[in-house]
Symmetry: D2
Subunit: 138 residues, 4 copies
């Protein structure tokens, strides 16, 4: 999986299913966030660290393409990569898989703002470097 | 319904169902909160007003007894009454009905704290009086 | 609002907020569904009617662009239109507004399948006609 | 922890927090279910196995007492034990802890029904025995 160096597993909760007997499509949006939080924990001291520096990362866009349904208790692998950090904006791409089968692809857009003023604020250099290291690691 | 003078309707969302084909039991806990927020809006200037005064109302206990299942698109009536305001603590009782059939009974416990210090803080007198008026109204 | 003839209001629940103090971005995906269900109830006898005919409408794609944050207790207007019904596929477009301010735009893609076989099945003619009437109404 | 032989960890998701900056109280109800599913997987071939035998376990009651707040990214340990299996009814007790601190206690009540007829159906003997083994293990 060229470029998707980071991967995290989630297990579909019963509360995340719906009356169609499948994982509700909004659950995927939550799982993408779970993967981002785990990614930041592994590569950039965690999202909590970013928040403690007075920076909030807002989600400004979400796109999910659902290729197959996921079921209760399925273990899904969320592969992700952080791309295109530009000033106060960055982007993640995702592949959601179940035992090698592609279940969904996704993309999220983010903007960092000052937690107090809510004005856009550039990603700190240590964050940019941490992501660069994460994505270039062999 | 002696004592249950306030009632609010919700409609079961598809996202609130689960793979058993019924409304997930955790959804009821959210609906109780929706009813509390509507109750405060009608009787005490709203929960937002309370928060703007630097008071947060924490939920310290929840009990739900499920008597019948609720289905997608059902309109449920949440009847509630605020009871036993004592210093920094108060309690709500609920009856969840569908076309007159009792679906669940519930109870929630709450404590008010200062939003900054998180120390217990008594409910302000205007709140106590507003609830008393709401519950004694003919 | 040319073309967006249908609109439904939702009120942001406290459970739908997050620790950023705003409505969580995944909540919007649920609200789009609430609006679709209301749209079908108004124009095509309801989603339950579709399901009772053995047809399930799957969500195959979601895109949300967030332009401004929404807060607890905000009343949001979800404007939507059903577009591009083609065989077993259709699409909705959305504008989420708060007192005239555009908060988000969105799009969802759907495919209809037979509830038993899970094979793609064309939208029934009465559904196609009902949507056409809804979108062409003056 | 006498009697609480099973324990599962969850990590508080950002989507599970609310505008009070804490984990929303309804999230705990979902976590109890996550722990029950893991318990069944460890001790009784999983909840999916039960469902494949045409048995559904309904939740007929929930009680949670919140002793302390939980925060984003907290790792919580859900200890649980299955008690009082009687015919078609059983009960779980829970202790939710964070690094040894008790955050909440809880209890859920369940009834097993035939998935088709929705009539009460006794827990199968293999399930009763599996739970007995789980709870009596040294």
């Amino acid at each position: 999986m060229e470029g998707f160096r980071s991967a995290y597993d989630i297990r579909v909760r019963f509360a995340e299913t719906d009356a169609q007997g499948i994982a509700h499509h909004a659950s995927f949006v939550v799982w993408l966030e779970v993967a981002r939080v785990a990614y930041l924990a592994d590569h950039a001291n965690g999202y909590r660290a970013l928040r403690e520096q007075g920076i909030e990362a807002l989600t400004t866009g979400v796109r999910v393409d659902y290729l197959a349904t996921a079921l209760f208790d399925d273990v899904l692998t969320i592969r992700l990569q952080c791309c295109d950090i530009q000033g106060a904006r960055f982007r993640y791409e995702y592949r959601v898989e179940r035992e090698g089968q592609l279940i969904a692809t996704a993309e999220t857009l983010h903007a960092t703002v000052d937690a107090t003023t809510h004005l856009p604020t550039r990603m700190p250099p240590w964050f940019v470097e941490a992501v660069a290291r994460a994505e270039q690691a062999a």
